[in-house]
Symmetry: C2
Subunit: 297 residues, 2 copies
């Protein structure tokens, strides 16, 4: 996190580049999206802009190409792609959610395929001695989800299962096999996010434990989630404000506040907002959305 902010400060990116960087950090580092997935998503967003220009410019391939500096041929392919997405529901290469599906779904599939009942052994079907098993069980963290331990082959099978399931949505020609680098990537991501943990044993395949019932439900992750949702929503509000849509409002205040009064000021602001909202709230009327963020400059 600190690394990220340092990097941003040193590179001095402009506002758009900053937004891109925050997005990249969230998608790649926090969310665990593949590098290629992020590039694809950015390319798809650009395609939407091109498609939109094409429609506004009387469906003129050459002119659209000139306005955005790409080949008319390419514009045509892009327009076709978006058209198919709109008409036939073909999937565009977007991120689709905060985290990749195969990571989100992973704990559920494990819980389903390798369930564990209280009292039963967590480790089954290995060549370990009972003594070794109980030693491992003893060293397990507390409060584990009700799932058995699995070995590295079973882990691979789980990932393979999820991968093929996530590929089902794609048309046959676009499906990609689960390559070894991709498998390693997913495994490492699961470990990195502390969704699973590896237990190396002296001989034979390493074992894996499921640590959490869902991918990344830490409190920090929840805030990251809110950050992205809020920013998208804020972007949308400002977009309406740019077009002078009725009932939109934008404010930006900078004020110097003594350090020992900041908390007090923010608390009061919170109360003011609530009182204001209470005063005007009237169930069933059109819904007004208000977003606010404050912090030291």
């Amino acid at each position: 996190m600190k690394e990220d902010r340092d990097l941003m400060q040193r590179l001095k990116p402009c506002a758009m580049d900053q937004i891109l960087m925050y997005l990249a950090f969230s998608a790649l580092k926090t969310g665990g999206h593949r590098h290629g997935a992020f590039l694809d998503a950015a390319a798809t967003a650009a395609k939407c802009a091109i498609y939109s220009t094409y429609m506004e410019e009387e469906q003129n391939l050459r002119r659209t190409g000139r306005l955005h500096h790409l080949e008319p041929k390419r514009v045509k392919v892009i327009v076709k792609e978006i058209d198919q997405a709109l008409a036939e529901g073909k999937l565009l290469k977007m991120l689709g959610s905060q985290e990749p599906e195969y990571l989100i779904q992973f704990p559920y599939v494990w819980l389903e395929q390798h369930p564990w009942q209280a009292g039963a052994p967590r480790i089954v079907g290995t060549h370990l001695t009972p003594r070794e098993k109980s030693e491992i069980e003893r060293d397990l963290p507390d409060e584990l989800p009700p799932a058995r331990l699995i070995n590295s082959i079973q882990l691979m099978e789980l990932i393979e299962f999820l991968h093929s399931r996530s590929q089902e949505a794609l048309p046959l020609p676009k499906r990609e096999p689960l390559s070894e680098p991709l498998l390693d990537h997913i495994r490492d991501r699961l470990i990195y996010s502390r969704t699973v943990e590896r237990i190396d044993i002296s001989r034979g395949l390493p074992l894996y434990v499921l640590l959490k019932t869902s991918y990344s439900p830490e409190s920090r992750e929840e805030r990251v989630f809110s950050m992205i949702e809020d920013t998208a929503s804020y972007f949308r509000l400002l977009n309406a404000w740019v077009d002078r849509a009725p009932h939109t409002f934008r404010a930006l205040e900078t004020l110097d506040v003594p350090a020992d009064q900041v908390e007090e000021a923010l608390n009061e602001l919170d109360k003011l907002l609530r009182a204001w909202a209470d005063k005007y709230h009237c169930e069933g009327s059109p819904t007004l959305l208000l977003q606010l963020a404050a912090g030291l400059k």
Copy 2:
């Protein structure tokens, strides 16, 4: 604009994809950045995320590659690139500003190279008859910047000049010649943004007029500028809030307000904010930044 919102509604992108789309619309359609420039900027943002992971993961190429699903070789190239940017100030491929430099600077160069003094003819050095010239001058819009009209060759030379000047910052191997498609792109962008206008004449080269003293100073464009700046800043504030930085605050309120009271409510909110800011403002203390946006859901 409407086209854009329609498209977003129909594709139902997730929050991250939404942010990318708003960015793409702003960069490509409003700002006039090249398609390739946007892709490069997104790739650069991803590179920063990868670099940051590499530093956090004890400079392990293989592990960084696995965490983000790219080849260690590629990680190495990326790390080197960012390192050079940090150490030697080498330029990364970023957007760099709301609009491309060559568009922003265009009016200034025109004004400098083809200045016009009140009373003098706007059109010089063509083979037009005095009568034709005065007819054209008569039809010109009012309130033009003090610049002479130029023909298409002179326009091309201006663009060439700007292009080569913008390439000076790049190291020799990376410089790209001004291709014809690129020239056409820049010309079309200038016309599209109503910075210049073409005047076709019956025989000979078409003429061009400079319409504005600067690229895109319309009020709408100013709001777009604020939108991007605000969003980047909001993103930063929330980023601090995610890490529970002291003195950060985030609020999100939804309330139902009767349509005929919305304006009143927003006005009151505005006053509340100002009063609150006045109350706590104390010159010379640390600066607190507060951002707020509101609108119908």
